[in-house]
Symmetry: C2
Subunit: 127 residues, 2 copies
DNA sequence: CAGTTCTAAAACTTATTGGTTATATAAATG
DNA sequence: CATTTATATAACCAATAAGTTTTAGAACTG
């Protein structure tokens, strides 16, 4: 999977409220499929499918404990998401800074024009 | 839209590489639909659809300039995403901290058991 | 080994997504 | 006013997603 594809998978996995709830639950500690399914008004296979999506995105991993397949969260993929957001903010802020200086210049321009029309240095002129 | 629905929309909007590219482009400054479509191997209506998704998620807004509809980014929805990620990390870290102290306790336990079986204070015993 | 428990897979349905082409609308321009 | 330019909408298609029920498989339990 390319980095872009990983971002696709991670964002898509996070775009579902059931999956976000599952992750929040798992942030508190490992849980089995049935334990995870319990609070939801949906069948066990549906939850298994959601877990598959999360697993494919690398957001959960699973071990084996008898018949159980305990799930636990993995945070690594979130760093890529966080990095993307940070980079995006950086670009945006740079653009914002440029806009900001542009506005400053316009303000300064307007001020100097105003002073040209209504010069304050006339004060130096003796009457 | 509820906060959860806004998260759905935002994450889903970010789950597509074309839309992320559009956002990165817009982070550099406003652009029209055709300008945005230019680098992509896809039709103008396809880009318009992507913009609609981004707009619905609140990630872009548009103004009017003659026939053009310049797009610009909006960062507000990203704060909700960032907040969710932060909250998630916090939960995870709390759980991690618990696991950590648990492991510390186990280590301490093992150490005291080991010292009981193979007491180091035997060094005080003369030979 | 028969039964139970936990999970996954198969087969199916319905809705959504991401793209297409063709057409309509809105605003400027000659 | 006819034409061009920029964008949106409509109608369509194929693929994917999210759910269902039913069935299969894997591992424990009596």
């Amino acid at each position: 999977m390319t980095p872009s594809e990983r971002l696709d998978a991670t964002f898509a996995a996070l775009a579902d409220p059931t999956r976000r709830a599952i992750l929040s639950r798992l942030a508190l500690g490992e849980a089995s499929v049935l334990e995870l399914a319990e609070p939801f008004a949906m069948s066990q296979p549906a939850v298994s499918k959601h877990l598959k999506v999360l697993e494919r995105a690398g957001l959960v991993s699973r071990s084996r404990d008898a018949q159980r397949r305990p799930c636990r969260i993995e945070i690594v993929p979130l760093t890529e998401v966080t990095d993307w957001l940070a980079e995006y903010r950086k670009l945006w802020q740079a653009n914002f800074a440029r806009l900001d200086t542009l506005l400053e210049e316009m303000k300064a321009d307007a001020a100097s024009q105003a002073s040209a029309m209504n010069p304050t240095d006339f004060t130096t002129k003796e009457d």
